[in-house]
Symmetry: C2
Subunit: 305 residues, 2 copies
Amino acid sequence: MSLKLTILGCHSATPRVNAHPTSQFLEIKNHNFLIDCGEGTQVQLRKYGIKFSKIKHIFISHLHGDHMYGLIGLISTFTLLNRETELHIYAPKGLKEIITLQLKLSNSWTHYPLLFHELTSKKSEVIFEDEKVEVHTIPLNHRVYTNGFLFKEKLGERKLNIDEISNFKEIDVCDYQNLKNGRDYKLQNGTILKNEMLTFEPSKPKSYAFCSDSSYFPEIIPVIKNVNCLYHESTFLSDREELASKTKHSTAAQAASIAKQAEVKQLIIGHFSSRYKNIDDFKTEAQEIYKNTLLAEAGKVFEIN
Amino acid sequence: MSLKLTILGCHSATPRVNAHPTSQFLEIKNHNFLIDCGEGTQVQLRKYGIKFSKIKHIFISHLHGDHMYGLIGLISTFTLLNRETELHIYAPKGLKEIITLQLKLSNSWTHYPLLFHELTSKKSEVIFEDEKVEVHTIPLNHRVYTNGFLFKEKLGERKLNIDEISNFKEIDVCDYQNLKNGRDYKLQNGTILKNEMLTFEPSKPKSYAFCSDSSYFPEIIPVIKNVNCLYHESTFLSDREELASKTKHSTAAQAASIAKQAEVKQLIIGHFSSRYKNIDDFKTEAQEIYKNTLLAEAGKVFEIN
């Protein structure tokens, strides 16, 4: 299956009736990751039919409200829904204190294990890993400590070449796993069948980089090089490049420049400032530098192949 | 002008697409009070065209999420909108710590004075007063420290009887304020005109009592006696009276019983549990005990005369 990204919110600063702050839901190799959680995220999850119980890992880029004010509500709702499975939260140091203080003062502790992974490093690091997926931080340059996140599939198993295998009656189904793992096969007559003859290359691992609030910051390029899809914030157009720099945000042109230099396959931009009435202008500006640019939009699903 | 109450949200527990947690906007004698502030309240304010700058006083009943998770977002939005006027927040002790911790960790202090009035008393007390209005707490019985709020107009000035006054040419416009204040008028010939002859009674002061989460708690009756309008939570129907008691909530019948005993003029019920599909059942149950019961509904405006 391809990576599947659902945009829950993609606007900056304050939530409005039809403009929701940052949140994304990423499906990757049977994992379901929530990325950022602005106010109202739980309502957006319901609106787009995403089951709350699927979410086991939440990644928070930084402690500005439009990226995390919806988290305490979601955590409380999990409790009300009688959640029992553990929830992992990867976030800058400080979030644990905010959440636990609120749970304490409302006398509403979770019944499920709530595990915080507090981030402090200014270097890219692996913060989640299993046999199928790994997640790296992407240190960004914003007004407070901020990370983007790089979600990478690991190289999967080789694929069986059933047509070829069927020429050798003595290869049994129980040998298949060894073949998928890359082993050669030794026939009873001593002949070695090279693995490459019996299997195909595994699917190329896919990757998605989420870069929330940041000034133009080319230091991230080595970390996100060649990803299949890059989400990069684009709060302003170039007419406000100075304001972007002052508030440590990016323009559409700067996001596109990062995408071009990092040679990514696709760029999605979002985090639009409410001062712009025509969001299409962001696309126009970015596409002048990097053609394969798409606009984030609440409810939009991107299949990343 | 009558009191004007706009319901922003009236459902319990978790916000859903068309079910918003508790918040109300009360206009009383040129004051604009926000009462409770569940997640998404700022979007509801925008939806119903209420200007953010009008709000100078926010009253929070208790520290459960469905009554206050929207507050930090609203405070932050005020900053983004360059608010300069002070904001007063009346809330249980602890809220100040929650808000200031979040502002500190997001490095986003308000540019306007943010003044907390922390409540700890278990007895009804006056927490706001000026020449026109006073606000009293209504201690409730919930799982955490909780207050309702009683908003009372003060007795206004007497109204001029212009027809009668015009019979006395020597009464000047600059005497009017003394007449409104209740003073008699002495004519040049020494005759005393009694104030009652020249003025009418002032409008009867109106009052609104907001009682958020509480078990059935008749101790509040003396405090809310004869109010023009009582909002009383009604989370459950009588079929779940035991659950209501266990979670320290009320049923529609219990809310109606309080309204009847307190001889209020009108009852509004809300804070409906999502387990009930037909909200009209709450009205039916309450009206069996107290006829003048209305249902809260987001966007609904009640004029309290």
